[in-house]
Symmetry: C2
């Protein structure tokens, strides 16, 4: 799947570089922090897998207008906008989660905090957060400016902007839930968790870019519906896999600490399923572990072992397999695009199920 | 000036209410925090003066297509989007400035912090900030969705979205400068301050909405240029007046503490002008006062008296008067719109110079 997207990813990287390069003089006119923020955002975006950006090209290809990697430049520009949105969201996320590193480097707000400390500014931690909030905002605004300048029919352009704004609103609201739950021992049901996944991850990460590509290609409503549902399904599978890796993965491969979801008290499908199957006593012990930054390796092992013993790991895996089956069925119903493009959707599922990071 | 805009402000309030009401079911589908955030944002927006929102109608009127208050609904919708942008920016600003009250009420992030504390959530202060970041993001996204749905010719719509995004990017970058300066005893020149005002306040508050109205009315490029420059000029005057009120105003009328700019170490035209005219010894004393949350009333009186004694207050007032004269000259060059509409621009200047809050 990644090889299939390699050239698209390269095209998006090149586009993003030249888009931000073109904005430099205007940003520099405001003040030197403008081009500096653009550099940091570019650097940040280029480190990502760019799944969202690449899916725009795939959505376009599946409408049958052109095949990946020969989709027109407008798919690359829209993909670059998706990556800027994602950068803005992650920059804000890292502030909320107080994550100081991402992909082995300082997170953006932490970079600003380090800079403030070096320059001897007052309260560098707060200064870093404030500058991070601004930088995330700037990423969103640049993305919308990029979308507004797309070389696309006006009706398509309008739809893409409205859809992006709508899905980002939902991401923001789902993130609020994630934050509120993370700081409490909220009683959450599996379906609440799955709904949060739908809006925080699935629709935004998969449905939005696939549909954006489809809209730009003038896809029929039937195909847009299929892409939307495929995105929701695959996204939830993706998120569950993410949860699994966060609990059972390999820290070196993953590039982030195992168990951070537990220590941060994140509410995942593991959490809701586990809490539904434990005794009052076990629940008390788990509540001392979840959301506790000082939870030990032994505590994490206890969570892992209990999840296996109570069949939680198996049941979560079952949910993921069910979603996978549904997604494969949806692929079978797509009649447009080349076999290679449709095959890429299947590869995406394989990749999601097999990924280690 | 305010009376002239009264009915426009009412129309924007009604529009915002119904726009957010219409979004409720969709937000509720994500989770209950969605409609709750919409309520809080509406409440927040309705408390504002809505200068930005109303200026869209005035910009439209000045193109000669219709007069205030009879401008078409599209000007009201675009005005509502401006107010949502402003709400998002202020919500984020309050987090950065750690302002717990605004207009005599808890700021949005502080409302969330109080709620988190009442619900016994861990670390309510951080939870409030995180939810505030999300709510500000949601305000931006709702505003862009609103703009994307405007009933306007596609080319105008595209221009309005691109212009909004561009100016908001500049606001974000100017805000970064404000944050970085606020936490240090940076040596800033008057022209650096004035450039920050242009991008952080003037263009965004005045040029953007006036031009948006003009674009929606199909205004000639010459008029758009005039509105842009008028906005920059008036906005800087507005900001200087704001600084004056923050130092010499009446706390009860202003609704916020006098001297907070000094205590927060905000870099204003007063600051740059004052620092350029004091001895090394005075500078040392000022540096202990600026950016010090514990500065006393006596410290503030020292700053005020020194600014008067060194002619800083008079020179800043002179800059404001110069901007006013330039703005009046620009008004004289507008040939379209009714006399009442052009008169409103003059009233805007009078209001800005005379306002107490």
């Amino acid at each position: 799947m990644l090889a299939y997207f390699n050239s698209t990813r390269d095209r998006i990287s090149i586009f993003l570089k030249s888009f931000l390069e073109e904005k430099r003089p205007r940003l520099a006119r405001v003040n030197p922090l403008g081009p500096d923020a653009a550099d940091r955002l570019l650097d940040f975006a280029l480190q990502g897998k760019m799944i969202r950006g690449c899916l725009v090209a795939l959505g376009y290809a599946l409408a049958g207008a052109a095949s990946v990697p020969a989709t027109p430049e407008v798919t690359i520009a829209a993909g670059a906008a998706m990556e800027l949105f994602q950068s803005g969201l992650l920059v804000h996320d890292d502030i909320m989660d107080r994550d100081l590193t991402r992909r082995g480097r300082s997170t953006l707000f932490q970079q600003y905090a380090e800079l403030a400390a070096r320059e001897g500014r007052a309260d560098p931690g707060h200064s870093g957060e404030a500058l991070g909030i601004c930088a995330g905002d700037v990423a969103y605004f640049l993305a919308f400016e990029l979308l507004a300048g797309l070389d696309a029919p006006p009706a398509a352009l309008q739809k893409v902007i409205a859809l992006s704004a709508r899905e980002l609103t939902a991401v923001g609201v789902a993130q609020m839930q994630d934050v509120a739950w993370g700081a409490s021992h909220a009683e959450v049901k599996d379906e609440d968790i799955l709904r949060m996944y739908t809006y925080k991850t699935s629709r935004y990460t998969f449905s939005l870019p696939l549909m954006t590509g489809g809209i730009l290609a003038g896809a029929a409503p039937g195909l847009l519906d299929l892409l939307e549902t495929f995105g929701e399904t695959t996204g939830s599978m993706f998120q569950i896999r993410d949860d699994e890796l966060g609990l059972y993965g390999d820290e070196r491969e993953l590039g982030k600490p195992i168990g951070s979801d537990v220590r941060e008290g994140k509410k995942t499908l593991f959490y809701s399923s586990l809490m539904a199957r434990v005794s009052a006593e076990e629940r008390q012990r788990l509540e001392r572990i979840f959301g506790n930054r000082d939870s030990s390796e032994a505590d994490l092992a206890y969570v892992r072992d209990l999840a296996v013993a109570r069949g939680v790991s198996a049941s979560v895996e079952g949910v993921a397999r069910g979603l996978e089956a549904k997604a494969r069925d949806l692929i079978g119903r797509i009649r447009t695009g080349t076999e290679a493009d449709r095959g890429a959707l299947g590869d995406l599922l394989d990749y999601t199920m097999a990924r280690k990071r």
